[in-house]
């Protein structure tokens, strides 16, 4: 049997992390990750350990493979016919790319929020209830919907029109609905692929506030082009770079403060200070 469900016994005590985090403190780890699209080597030798209950941001210039790596975390790359993944991704000490692992079960535990809000063309209620239903939720559905909407800071705005079409909401509301939909299935990790890039500044701020609240209960990995956003919101930052053969690789990874204030690498500094990218 897979051990994806078996959560570590406790939430680890936070202070320990300041020193060297142990394997238990990592929500998910990429080991020697290489991704190919057909013959094209998209990502090379990524080793990345994501800390539990933290926000980790992945930044880098266009085409550096950060979104590709993000999609590896819940096997969304499987949907691309030509994509091929080598290396391991460890989730609860289980390689999710092992041949006996069903991607459906991976995605059940590792949810995702996309760049463009993509609610189902159904009612607000059904948007949230559908994921719960297919995953065999047995509790009180109304409660779950309310709880999820509150969790995504959307309840007060939509409680009177919960059976109206989700498409009638504004872009920011739709994105928060997508977050509510994701947390309704109680994942361990939430992947966010530039979740605020299609939103206006105010809606973006609300999403960022929401992320800070969610990180109490979830591990969040976010891909962003917005340097300020990464520095404002994330605990750790991974900087990806692209080499001459357009293959992406991890350049630098560490606590956000360090990456942004005293980067070890010259390229990182150039990127962060806006000299390229």
């Amino acid at each position: 049997m897979l051990k994806l469900d078996s959560k570590p016994n406790t939430k680890p005590e936070m202070p320990k992390r300041e020193s060297t985090p142990s394997a238990l403190d990592y929500a998910i780890e990429a080991k020697d990750l290489n991704v190919f699209y057909g013959n094209f080597h998209a990502v090379r030798d990524v080793n990345l350990s994501i800390e539990r209950n933290k926000i980790t941001s992945m930044i880098g210039p266009s085409g550096c493979g950060k979104s590709t790596v993000l999609r590896c975390f819940n096997r969304m790359n499987d949907l691309i016919a030509s994509a091929r993944v080598e290396g391991e991704i460890l989730f609860n000490n289980q390689n999710i790319y092992a041949s006996n692992v069903d991607p459906v079960q991976v995605r059940r535990h590792i949810g995702m929020v996309f760049q463009k809000p993509n609610p189902f063309p159904k009612s607000i209620y059904d948007n949230i209830a559908w994921g719960a239903k297919i995953n065999g939720f047995r509790g009180n559905m109304d409660e779950l919907v309310e709880q999820s909407l509150r969790g995504a800071a959307l309840w007060d705005e939509v409680k009177d029109k919960i059976h109206q079409s989700a498409l009638s909401l504004s872009g920011g509301q739709q994105q928060r609905l997508c977050i509510a939909r994701t947390i309704a299935v109680k994942p361990d990790i939430i992947l966010m692929d530039e979740p605020a890039s299609a939103l206006d500044p105010i809606a973006t701020l609300r999403i960022e506030d929401l992320m800070r609240e969610l990180v109490e209960d979830y591990t969040i990995i976010i891909v962003t082009h917005n340097m300020q956003q990464a520095s404002r919101v994330s605990d750790s930052t991974a900087f990806f770079m692209v080499d001459e053969s357009r293959t992406g690789h991890l350049m630098e990874y560490g606590p956000t403060k360090e990456v942004f204030t005293k980067p070890k690498n010259k390229k990182t500094e150039d990127y962060i200070t806006g000299r390229f990218g």
């Binding site: 969304m76 995702m112 929020v113 993509n118 189902f120 994921g131 297919i134 994701t182």
Partner: protein, 708 residues
């Protein structure tokens, strides 16, 4: 205005006038293409209008109906019988007898030729009708309702070329008043006869003061009204007696037939007419180079008579007359102020023209207004008893409706057949020529006919164009389409889902895709060959229904609705798969990703999100595929659709025909009327297709509204 070259560098773009010219040139090229596109749109619309014009032009227009028996004659006979079968009725061919009978009974009423009233004015009296007393003046002016003028018609060319005809006509006009009373009619007014003589003089150029001179030999042919017949016969005899050496033949054919014969050939020299010629008859004879010349010779009038002992009946209306001679039994039934005594009726016998005239004037009715019993009587009198038994066993007459019996009478007794039809444009622009042509055909009438009627849609096939309909074909088409959808929709959508969502991109699947795309372009007749080989022949046991022990053993071959539906299903499958794939592909990837990210399986994603979003598109392509299948003809011809079938199909194992097959059959018939039918069927098919396409548009709009 030319733009300035801002930098002052060497200009690499045309500036000034050259620049302006360059822009004008570009605009001109754009306008050229825009014009070309507009022209092709207009061309397309014109082609569509031409098609519609052709169809509508044939689907509506005049038809010439020719009746085996004039319905008016049938009505007259039936009503005459009704008169003769009323209670207390005393029919007699002898007017003297009638007069004598009425004379002695205060409660008697009768009618006969006016001449006899004067003879017996001591015992009987004529009753005013609608307040008009019958006398020479009121009859001649037409004021008295039970009167009609009598005419002779000929043509100037006849009178000038055949002197014996001219001589007879002159003799007739000069001597008619001497005998008209004896025949039982009223004389015409003196001025009318003078006018007739003046016309004769003008045509022949002879002076009436001169004597006839030597009487000519030769023959005179007279035809027409049975009313005028005895008068003409009498005068013919006298003319011969006065020394005419030739012979005179008088035929009693009816006024209308008389005109028709006169205009269509030269066999008839004079027409007896109990009414004035109609506009159409005048037109027809003029175009036949025999313009009509009219000679008034007298009047026919009926008198309604009662005994001199009768004191209460001072006036009678036509409605009262109708009741008095048919349904009423007591005088008080008609008018309460009259005594409650039984009405004793004296009417002329069935052979008499007087009876016909009375029923025609007092009891005017159309065949279709007659009561059911009367219609059954007409049917009994005119068709064989064997046929009556067959009608009875098809459906007992007691259960049949009046309309149903009327249709039988029209079909079996009147036997009106369409002898010619005209297009809508002809009907509008050549109206008078058409009327003239119809007037030359005996017993023919012209009616405007819409070939698309309720009857056309609800009637089965028939070899008689006016009874033929498309019901069988519509049912056939619907059945075939039902089978087609039942097979093609699940298979087509299933294949589309597989290819779009599940199939991996390997050599085998690419081969399948290529094949499907190629199949969509295969001519439909090849599918017909396929259907013939597989469904009709190889799978005959199944498609004929023998395996399930159903179906008609007499048609136990595979040429059934099931075979046709399966063939058409094959035909539209590639179309359906390609377009359903398109619909599925147009579902945004983000929707699929959202579903997968929640931990949904491929099937859950497909069933809950992809299919609902693609539903509008799938429905649209389904309906478009159905439209294609409905209009398909060639494969059904190959697999053997029935060419003539009267029974509605009753299931998937029945023989069938479809609308396009029906249209194809009709257009290949030699009779022009079937082309009108084909045009009507095309209209039905077009309406069916347009409503299907409209449904597709509505569905697409509804689903796309929901989707976004």
């Amino acid at each position: 205005m030319a733009l300035q070259n801002l930098t002052g560098d060497v200009a690499t773009y045309p500036e000034g006038a050259a620049g302006e010219k360059q822009v004008v040139g570009r605009q001109r090229r754009g306008k050229f293409w825009a014009f070309l596109f507009r022209a092709s749109t207009v061309f397309g619309i014109l082609a569509l209008l031409a098609l519609l014009y052709n169809v509508v032009n044939s689907a509506f227009g005049f038809v010439m109906l020719q009746n085996e028996i004039d319905p008016d004659v049938i009505v007259q006979q039936a009503q005459g019988e009704m008169l003769l079968n009323a209670s207390d009725v005393n029919p007699s061919e002898d007017d003297q007898e009638l007069a004598a009978g009425v004379a002695v009974d205060a409660n008697a009423i009768g009618f006969f030729g006016y001449a006899y009233v004067q003879e017996h004015s001591d015992t009987i009296r004529a009753v005013p009708v609608d307040g008009v007393e019958p006398n020479a003046a009121t009859v001649d002016s037409g004021e008295y309702p039970l009167a009609r003028p009598l005419y002779l018609y000929s043509a100037p060319s006849v009178l000038t070329e055949e002197p014996q005809v001219a001589a007879f006509l002159r003799y007739y006009v000069e001597h008619v008043n001497a005998v008209i009373d004896e025949v039982g009619y009223f004389p015409a007014a003196a001025e009318s006869l003078e006018a007739s003589l003046a016309l004769w003089q003008e045509i022949t150029g002879q002076n009436i003061s001169e004597s006839n001179g030597a009487l000519e030999a030769g023959s005179v042919e007279v035809a027409g009204s049975s009313t005028v017949y005895p008068l003409t016969q009498r005068l013919a005899n006298e003319f011969v007696a006065s020394g005419f050496g030739g012979e005179i033949n008088v035929a009693s054919t009816g006024t209308q037939a008389g005109f028709a014969e006169f205009c269509s050939n030269g066999d008839v020299d004079i027409v007896n007419a109990s009414r004035a010629a109609s506009r159409a008859e005048i037109e027809a004879c003029r175009s036949a180079r025999r313009p009509l010349a009219e000679f008034r010779v007298g009047n026919d009038a009926l008198a309604v008579v009662v005994s001199q002992q009768n004191s209460f009946l001072q006036n009678v209306t036509q409605e009262q007359l109708a009741q008095l001679f048919t349904t009423a039994e007591l005088w008080s039934d008609v008018d309460p102020s009259w005594p409650s005594e039984p009405i004793v009726r004296y009417v002329p016998g069935a052979e008499s023209g007087t009876l016909d005239f009375f029923t025609e004037t007092v009891l005017p009715a159309e065949l279709e207004d007659l009561p059911k019993e009367t219609l059954i009587g007409i049917l009994e009198a005119n068709v064989s008893s064997g046929l009556m038994r067959r009608f009875e066993s098809d459906q007992p007459f007691a259960e049949r409706t009046q309309e149903n019996v009327y249709e039988l009478v029209v079909e079996r007794v009147v036997e009106s057949t369409i002898v010619k039809s005209w297009s809508l444009v002809d009907s509008i622009f050549n109206h008078s020529e058409i009327e003239a042509e119809v007037a030359t055909v005996p017993n023919a009438e012209l009616t405007f006919r819409s070939w698309v009627t309720g009857d056309f849609i609800t009637s089965a096939q028939s070899s008689e164009p006016q009874f033929a309909g498309v019901r069988t074909a519509i049912f056939g088409s619907l059945w075939v389409i039902l089978v087609t959808i039942l097979f093609a929709l699940p298979i087509g959508v299933g294949a589309a889902i597989y290819l779009e969502e599940y199939a991996e991109n390997n050599r085998f699947n690419r081969l399948i895709e290529t094949n499907i795309n190629n199949l969509a372009g295969v001519p439909s007749i090849i599918y017909g060959m396929l259907g013939l080989a597989i469904f009709v022949r190889a799978l005959e046991v199944i498609t004929s229904g023998r395996l399930f022990d159903v179906g008609d053993p007499t048609t136990a071959n595979g040429r059934t609705i099931l075979s046709a539906g399966l063939t058409l299903a094959l035909l539209i499958l590639p179309l359906l798969i390609i377009n359903a794939r398109e619909a599925i592909r147009s579902v945004p990837a983000s929707l699929r990703q959202a579903s997968y990210a929640l931990g949904a399986t491929k099937w859950q994603t497909t069933w809950n999100h992809v299919l609902p979003s693609a539903l509008g598109g799938i429905l649209t392509v389904t309906i478009l595929a159905i439209s294609r299948a409905i209009g398909e003809t060639a494969p059904l011809v190959v697999i053997g659709a029935s060419t003539f079938i009267v029974a509605d199909p009753d299931g998937p194992f029945a023989k069938f025909t479809t609308l396009p097959i029906q249209i194809y059959q009709w257009t290949s018939r030699p009779q022009a009327e079937f082309r009108n039918l084909a045009a009507a069927a095309i209209l039905v098919l077009l309406v069916l297709l347009l409503s299907l396409n409209a449904t597709a548009v509505i569905l697409r709009n509804r689903y796309s509204r929901q989707g976004s």
